[in-house]
Symmetry: C2
Subunit: 354 residues, 2 copies
């Protein structure tokens, strides 16, 4: 590890000059020629700054704390973390991730992150929920991810459920479906309202009437299958927008029992299906991915913007798009983009991905 001291002595200047140059604060303070030489030797020696030393001095670590309680239990957490890490990395930050089991050790984990000097926090849940922000986080730069602050006081990044449903439903309409079912979830998830509304509005905008008999909200297993089966009997759908893969599967099962072919007699769009489900069990299923990667990415950008208000983040206006799904033999494009909504917009306006 080569140090500033080394560069200083080799170049014949002082450490402070080196520091100025290497932090790009030399404009009008250090003679260009000197600056050039400093940079040259720094480069020649492969100098990398020591983040620890800097942090000890500045009180800033360029580390973001990522707090979640479900990192291990859902396959989606990875997407969020990946997005957050990518953004953080581009911004010169690192991510320090902790997971809490329930709420018991949450305070401890947060305390540990503070000891390590994180500059701010991301507080993530998997699948949008109302959360109470822990007291220990209230005075810190904080962004909620895939979660909603019950008090509505903290910034959060959430999927745009309305637009997810609107787009999905519109795809089904465009594909020529006449009777599009909505297979929702009976649990009181935040996503429910937005999705149902998106479904409704897409129909409306296409001049279709909303038909109650095409809608059902179900839980799991037998009763769920029964409910979807009833819907098939009463409404004879030729398209279905499904809350998730379990619900999509009920449609597959019902179709199979009636001799209907998915992709021909019934088109199905499902949200956020497990890869294995789509690949192995559900051919012809069109998948709408929730923007996990994007949520993580934006959350990190937003958080850094809170930590460094003066920093120019123009280059980060839009996150990288999610990798496309593996090619499936689907009747409609496999990828439908989503929108992210911020409570407090990064730049004073909401923006959408396209």
């Amino acid at each position: 590890m080569t140090t500033m001291k080394e560069i200083a002595s080799r170049t014949g200047v002082s450490v402070s000059t080196v520091s100025l140059v290497l932090n790009n604060r030399d404009e009008g303070r250090v003679k260009p020629e000197i600056a050039r030489r400093v940079r040259a030797t720094a480069h020649a020696l492969g100098y990398k700054s020591n983040p620890l030393a800097r942090s000890l001095r500045t009180g800033k670590t360029r580390i973001l704390g990522f707090v979640s309680e479900e990192v291990a239990t859902t396959p989606y957490a990875g997407g969020i973390i990946l997005g957050a890490q990518d953004a953080a990395s581009s911004l010169g930050y690192m991510l320090l991730t902790v997971n809490t089991d329930g709420t018991s050790n949450e305070a401890d984990e947060i305390a540990t992150l503070k000891r390590y000097g994180v500059d701010g926090f991301m507080y993530a849940k998997m699948s949008n929920r109302y959360v109470d922000v822990p007291d220990s986080l209230r005075d810190w730069p904080l962004v909620l991810v895939d979660a909603t602050d019950r008090e509505g006081r903290f910034a959060s990044i959430e999927p745009d459920e309305f637009r997810i449903a609107y787009d999905a439903t519109k795809r089904l309409i465009d594909a020529g479906c006449e009777r599009i079912a909505y297979i929702g979830c009976l649990e009181p998830l935040i996503a429910q309202a937005g999705r149902l509304e998106g479904y409704r509005r897409a129909l409306e905008d296409a001049g279709r009437a909303f038909d109650e008999s095409l809608v059902t909200n179900v839980l799991n297993n037998g009763p769920a299958l029964k409910a979807v089966s009833d819907l098939f009997d009463r409404a004879n759908p030729d398209g279905a927008f499904c809350f998730n893969d379990a619900r999509a599967w009920y449609v597959y099962e019902c179709a199979a029992r009636r001799g209907l072919t998915i992709g021909r007699d019934v088109s199905v769009v499902g949200v956020d299906n497990h890869r294995v489900f789509a690949e192995t069990l559900a051919p012809k299923l069109t998948t709408v991915e929730l923007p996990h990667y994007e949520m993580g990415y934006w959350a990190a950008v937003k958080l850094v913007s809170m930590i460094e208000p003066d920093r120019d983040l123009a280059a980060f206006e839009r996150p990288k798009t999610t990798a496309p799904l593996p090619a499936l033999d689907v009747p409609m494009p496999a990828k439908i983009h989503c929108t992210l909504v911020e409570k407090e917009s990064v730049r004073g306006e909401n923006r959408s991905l396209d």
Copy 2:
């Protein structure tokens, strides 16, 4: 943040004494009464050491680097990371996680971890593979996780595929199955050999002959289903040990088409099924979980043992067991424990979980 200086002045001693006491190096160096008072004020002030300052001085950060390229793409990564984090946390360490896309940025990410001063590395793959250890990691404390060093020079933590298969097959035997099929994977995975051997030996130990016609290795989709179907036609199995959930599903499908009931006519054990698969689509499936959590846990313990050879890790001999699966209505116990094998044993002997 209260500092040692503060404690020193309040107690009327010097910082060095405080440091001695708070690092438990006071034995025979500091008068017990003084030590007591130091500890008392430290406690009263809620003192927490500043890891940055310590690290700057000692050159040790108590941070472990976790390098993986598939954190986001598999639902299992979380388990490994969770285990590693739990162990690290108990040992007073943190985990700094980076993910690499392919190999392009791997060197960069590793360099970044080094700059942040990690004390050692875990290099993880998802689903045991032969890997070439990057040069940049060769001179560091290193443990491979769910991966095998092609040269056999570095410690690694891997699932004990033999015992997974042995146990699973034995369960089927104990459940009364007479003709137990092995539905393997056609890809050249390290797991294949061990599992097939475990299957074979379990049969042997039960006095059964190994029957080639009960074995098939398949890829995906149509051809796979066809192969499993052929196996059903020629060998009429009443039990099946399946490499993973996709393969388990082919058995379900074949059984369904023949009017056979899973859990009565055919018992099925599958490895590492996606939760949603088991819950929604595959009732009566017995799942053998790969020990992801344990692998992460052990890897972290092993790594710390390399970093601090003198540290007493007796309390960490056995990792916590994986959380039990949610209760399923299965014909056999849902949880089958696994064994971990280390290339270089932590304490000179291999151990098994029970």
